[in-house]
């Protein structure tokens, strides 16, 4: 089921949606958004791509199985929680860098936690959807 229109649109939409998801992820602390929604939007981007181009080409594009996103994201989230232990603060205290970065703004360990959530959500969603579409 290949529709040229959808295929062309999906190819352009994928990078745009991914960018948008990162944008949503980053603005989460001040405006509506965050890792969870960002992750879902990124998953939708890949799902759209796979609907248009077939599952195999999306997998080839991803290079790694989406399953690997999960442990990776979980580790980032946990490490960001563990980081404060090294400076003597309790587990999961948010640490902040002193100076804001250009474009992104002030960075704290909460951002890394959110990035972890983002990756886990992508991994979980894609794993579930890919597995189901492969096996039904």
């Amino acid at each position: 089921m290949k529709i040229i229109l959808l295929k062309t649109a999906a190819n352009y939409l994928l990078p745009l949606l991914l960018l948008f998801s990162v944008f949503i992820l980053l603005r989460g602390h001040y405006e509506p958004g965050g890792g969870f929604v960002g992750g879902l939007i990124a998953s939708i981007a890949f799902i759209l791509h796979s609907l248009a181009n077939g599952l195999d080409s999306t997998k080839a594009l991803l290079k790694y199985s989406p399953f690997y996103f999960i442990p990776f994201g979980l580790s980032i989230a946990i490490l960001s929680g563990l980081a404060p232990l090294f400076v003597g603060e309790p587990f999961m205290t948010v640490l902040w860098f002193e100076n804001p970065l250009p474009v992104i703004g002030l960075i704290g360990s909460a951002l890394f936690f959110d990035i972890g959530v983002y990756l886990v959500v992508i991994g979980v969603t894609l794993t579930i959807l890919f597995t189901i579409s492969e096996s039904v």
């Binding site: 609907l51 979980l74 989230a77 929680g81 959110d114 979980v124 579930i128 189901i132 492969e134 039904v136």
Partner: protein, 766 residues
């Protein structure tokens, strides 16, 4: 002390890796552990004898009052010495008994775990820590009973033992928590001062029930005794160690430990007296009918445990003294008899006492050990057992109102026990040697020295009981609450009633031995009573449970998603509906609500159309699309009422769900109208009820006064503490970051679940 306990676990782990390298030397290398620990605990003897107690306090989970507290007093020391002392002999013995066995590394691993957890039980001062070790002993016992795991009977016995002792463990845990709550501490030491509070508490009877359920199952008291004969499927050294000398005495230890806390109350004493009394007579009576060496020993062990419970039930200082000496005596002779039975089985290949005879000619040292053990079990003068028997009679004679009855059943039990002792320790060695055993020879010293050692030990302490009294036994009964007693053990008490009773027991035992020969016929005769035995009842209960579980599973887990949903929703409707009708004053005022705006009216009408399309559409695809229309409409409501985060999430989730549905849709059978009218009505009714219920709840919530403190806190502090302006996100990643962490872990588990279920299923089909 912590190291002493943990060393067993550490060695067990090391055995996993080193087992291969050590090969033949492994048993002897591992045996260093119990010997070292034995010496270590011996160094405490002088201090304990002077009345000291040793503490070690390591905070573990302070917020819940759980500390790794260890306390070494007389009672703990007695058990520690038994555990490590008998342990040393059993470790050495097994090196020869299981020589060349393929899983010998595993065997020693289990033994180490058992020894360590048993030490943990007797040394822990914190109830919850004690409970952990308690369960670990049951687990290691499970593995040791089922050590010959290619034998079905072994597996069944270990499961039975696990079911009984593990079931008792549940009660015990509940009992510990209850006691901990009432007294406000989990430390046994601190509980001593709240003894009166506990005893006068209205839940005292329940505490006793729970604690006793744990102790009686562990210590094989009637009617839970039947797992113990089954546990004899374990290799014999295990039977000697776990199921006679140490683990089964954990229940006794627990009762003794709680004597100063919960004891000295009519409920306490009477329960122990009745259960212990029945067990001791029942076990002793059964033991004289057995012809399997280990069967005899198993039942006489049950009886001995009954005696201990019985003595603790009498509860006088005399009785506590008798109990503590008897613990030691019993460990000496019963472990010895078990080890001897193991040698006989190992060398002749049979344990049938009606066939065994004349083995003294081929195994002289073992015959001496057997004789000593049998004399010990019968309480012949000069053995420590004689002293202990005197103490038992003294305790029963001075027990007050029912002294006569108690003394009578004690005598009866002791006669039976001395008979079974002769049967196990003397019968195989006397008479003429059958031809088929003429080739039998004495095994290596590791196997016959330990029982001989135990027999001589019983004799040594019998001749010089003063070695024990003030150094060990006195601290033991002090730990049980008899603080002011001075113990002086003597072999000779002069001519008195007690001596007469001892003599009577011995004479009757010998007469019984001379007239009763073990035979299969009598075993079968008593086998007829099995249909009333607790074991049969337990087994039929187990069968019934299985049957009900099968029926339940067939009904509840029939594999149809729609049936699960129906049941879940039905249950919810009933439960919440019942609560709402009974307890809540439902007020559905509409005047508080804002007026319906144009947007809302439009979105609402779209939703109505979508609902009707879902319900009445003949096509699955249309239904699913309509469903997502519903979802998007909800998003619009969220946007309209100022919840953009929620709207975004709902929007993306809805998109993904639709995609998922479409993916699955391809493989589903074409949509069929539900022909069954009744099912249609049922589903419609259920859906309607659920919808109404949720609406009522939603409206009702508006009437409840809301607590704004929490949301105000978040709103006020999101920027100050979390440096974010989006409150929802700050809650997610900062204030309630723990929750999020757990949530993404749950998501991971879900993904792994879906992945493995579908992958395994599809690979099976291929």
């Amino acid at each position: 002390m912590l190291l002493a306990i943990l060393s067993g676990f550490l060695i067990a782990i090391c055995l996993l890796f080193l087992g291969k390298q050590l090969k033949g030397n492994l048993p002897l290398a591992v045996s260093i552990l119990p010997i070292t620990l034995f010496v270590y605990f011996c160094t405490f003897l002088p201090g304990i004898g002077e009345g000291q107690t040793f503490f070690q306090h390591i905070p573990w989970i302070p917020s819940m009052g759980i500390h790794l507290d260890f306390k070494l007093d007389g009672l703990s020391l007695l058990f520690s010495l038994l555990i490590t002392g008998i342990g040393s002999l059993v470790f050495l013995y097994s090196s020869s008994y299981l020589k060349g066995h393929i899983y010998i590394g595993r065997f020693y691993g289990y033994l180490c775990v058992f020894m360590a957890s048993m030490l943990g039980v007797v040394l822990s001062d914190n109830l919850l820590v004690l409970f952990v070790f308690w369960e670990l002993t049951a687990i290691s016992s499970f593995f040791l009973i089922g050590f010959n795991n290619d034998n079905e009977a072994s597996r069944k016995s270990s499961l039975l033992a696990w079911a009984i002792t593990g079931g008792g463990g549940f009660f015990l845990m509940a009992g510990f928590i209850l006691i901990g709550n009432v007294s406000g501490t989990y430390s046994l030491q601190e509980m001593l001062s709240s003894s009166e509070l506990l005893k006068s508490h209205f839940l005292y009877a329940i505490m006793l029930f729970l604690i006793f359920a744990g102790a009686f199952t562990k210590s094989a008291q009637f009617p839970f005794h039947f797992w113990l004969p089954g546990a004899m499927k374990a290799p014999t050294p295990v039977s000697a160690y776990l199921h006679s000398a140490t683990m089964v005495k954990a229940g006794i230890y627990l009762i003794a430990r709680f004597t100063p806390i919960l004891g000295n109350h009519p409920y306490w004493n009477n329960t122990l007296l009745i259960v212990g009394g029945i067990t001791m007579v029942y076990g002793a009576f059964h033991s004289i009918f057995r012809i399997d060496l280990k069967g005899i020993l198993a039942y006489s062990t049950i009886s001995a445990l009954g005696i201990l419970v019985f003595l603790l039930g009498i509860g006088t200082h005399d009785a506590l003294l008798a109990a503590s000496v008897f613990i030691l005596v019993h460990a000496f002779y019963k472990a010895g008899l078990f080890l001897i039975a193991g040698v006989i089985d190992h060398e002749t290949g049979t344990r049938d006492v009606s066939q065994l005879a004349g083995l003294r000619k081929v195994m002289a040292p073992l015959a001496i050990a057997g004789g000593l053990a049998a004399l010990s079990s019968a309480g012949i003068p000069l053995t420590l057992s004689f002293v202990s028997k005197d103490l038992i009679y003294e305790a029963t004679l001075n027990s007050g109102n029912s002294a006569l009855l108690f003394t009578l059943i004690a005598i009866l039990t002791n006669i039976f026990l001395s008979y079974s002792g002769y049967l196990a320790g003397i019968k195989p060695f006397v008479g003429s040697l059958p031809a088929k055993f003429s080739e039998v020879h004495l095994p290596s010293g590791f196997m016959w020295l330990p029982p001989l050692f135990l027999g001589l030990g019983g004799l040594l302490f019998g001749l010089f009981p003063s070695l024990l009294d003030s150094s060990l036994i006195q601290p033991v009964i002090h730990a049980m609450g008899a603080n002011d007693t001075v113990v002086s053990l003597k072999l000779w008490h002069g001519f008195n009633t007690v001596l007469m009773l001892s003599a009577l027991t011995i004479v009757c035992g010998i007469i019984l031995y001379l007239i009763l020969k073990p035979s299969l016929k009598r075993l079968n005769a008593i086998g007829k009573l099995d249909s009333f035995s607790p074991q049969t009842i337990f087994m039929s209960l187990a069968k019934g449970t299985k049957f009900i579980a099968l029926r339940y599973t067939k009904f509840m887990h029939n594999g149809f998603l729609r049936s699960y949903l129906t049941k879940i929703i039905f249950f919810l409707v009933c439960l919440i509906g019942y609560y709402l009708i009974r307890n809540v004053d439902i007020q559905l005022y509409t005047d508080k609500h804002t007026a319906i705006s144009m947007y809302e009216a439009i979105v609402f009408s779209i939703m109505i159309v979508a609902i009707f399309t879902i319900v009445f559409s003949p096509s699955r695809f249309v239904a699913i699309i309509s469903l997502s229309v519903m979802g998007y409409c909800m998003c619009l409501f969220f946007v309209y009422y100022g919840a953009p985060d929620l709207a975004m999430t709902q929007f993306t989730i809805d998109t993904l769900t639709t995609v998922l549905f479409v993916l699955v849709l391809l493989k589903l059978p074409p949509y069929l109208r539900i022909k069954d009218k009744a099912a249609q009505v049922r589903d419609g009714f259920l859906a309607g009820a659920f919808g109404i219920l949720i609406s009522v709840i939603a409206l009702q919530v508006l009437n409840e006064p809301t607590n704004k403190n929490i949301s105000r806190f978040y709103a006020d502090n999101a920027y100050l503490l979390g440096k974010g302006k989006n409150v929802v996100n700050v809650i997610l990643v900062d204030f309630r970051g723990y929750d999020t962490l757990v949530e993404i872990t749950v998501l991971t588990i879900a993904a792994i679940g879906v992945y493995s279920m579908l992958k395994i299923q599809s690979s099976e089909i291929e």
